[in-house]
């Protein structure tokens, strides 16, 4: 699917130019127009449905802290890396959320190219792909995430990276909100929204405890799937996060 002619008309990667304030403002305005046009097309053509669930992150974060404790900064993981890997594996397991809807038909993708929505500091948003994210080890995925976000913010993305995600994840929660219900990037058919990691009271086996948790949402295309399959996707993500060492 990579580099295919069916690839969506994603907003173009900002070009690496000398970043005077005027150039930055022009670039931000151009990106805003591109995002606006794409999202308008999405809302006009895709019958979205929305699901939400709370993911228990106790096992995942305890494991991550243990791993990070023995590592230099450059090799540490962030929660987003674990969440992205779980989403990629779940997308492989539930093919109705992974692929493109074009010419009146859904074409599932065998590969999972995970789009990661990256907000740019000067304004605007791009969503380049981590290719074959379901097959990458956590450390490789983490390294690619850092590289991708760094290059996105520096305006140095390759066109192929912009064009071919098969499903996109937005991790807006990193900076604050508890949940985000996103707009699907056409011709993709699903978008996953991850909120902020919060400590929540959690009832389990009749006992009340406190656990780190995150709200995960799924916006999906009713022409391709329904709530039952969508629920399956979110349930898979939750299940995968309970065994983080296997991610």
């Amino acid at each position: 699917m990579r580099g295919s002619s069916r690839a969506p008309a994603a907003p173009r990667a900002p070009s690496p130019r000398v970043m005077t304030p005027a150039v930055a403002a022009e670039r931000a305005a151009g990106l805003r127009r591109a995002v606006g046009a794409l999202m308008a097309r999405s809302k006009k053509s895709i019958p979205h449905y929305y699901l939400s669930t709370t993911l228990d992150l106790r096992a995942a974060l305890a494991w991550m802290e243990q791993v990070n404790a023995g590592r230099p900064v450059a090799e540490r993981l962030v929660p987003a890396a674990l969440l992205l890997k779980a989403c990629a594996l779940a997308a492989r397991a539930v093919p109705e959320v992974n692929g493109f809807y074009t010419d009146g038909a859904f074409r599932p993708s065998a590969a999972v190219h995970l789009g990661v929505a990256v907000s740019l500091r000067q304004g605007g948003l791009v969503a380049p792909a981590i290719h074959d994210a379901d097959t990458l080890s956590l450390d490789v995925l983490m390294a690619q995430l850092r590289d991708l976000v760094g290059r996105a913010r520096a305006g140095r993305l390759a066109r192929a990276e912009m064009a071919d995600p098969t499903i996109t994840v937005t991790n807006l929660g990193d900076l604050g909100v508890e949940s985000v219900f996103g707009v699907i990037y056409p011709p993709q058919v699903a978008l996953v929204g991850l909120g902020r990691v919060v400590e929540q009271p959690w009832a389990h086996n009749g006992l009340l405890g406190v656990r780190p948790a995150v709200t995960a949402t799924l916006s999906a295309d009713h022409r391709v799937s329904d709530g039952l399959r969508g629920s399956r996707f979110l349930a898979q993500v939750e299940e995968l996060l309970q065994a983080p060492e296997e991610l």
């Binding site: 802290e65 404790a69 900064v73």
Partner: protein, 80 residues
């Protein structure tokens, strides 16, 4: 390390990770995430840049102590 050197290292790192932040006019009570809008990857790059410049490694368990500019300057000063 003295406070001035610690501050210089922290400001230089902020300038690299978030070039739009005006470090000449920085409120040291600013929180890195909420006020300077550094996400988790920016934060990682920030402490990595500081580690390269000063040798001060911030273990993950100390992240809550370096949540503000002031906290970070103090941490680098104490450990550098």
């Amino acid at each position: 390390m003295n406070e001035q050197d610690a501050r210089a290292a922290v400001y230089a790192a902020i300038g690299q990770v978030a070039p739009d932040v005006d470090t000449d006019d920085l409120d040291e009570n600013a929180r890195l995430r909420q006020d300077l809008e550094l996400d988790s990857l920016d934060f990682l790059r920030l402490i990595e840049t500081i580690a390269q410049a000063t040798g001060v490694d911030t273990p993950a368990r100390d992240y809550p102590r370096v949540a503000t500019v002031k906290g970070l300057v103090g941490y680098v000063q104490a450990h550098g």
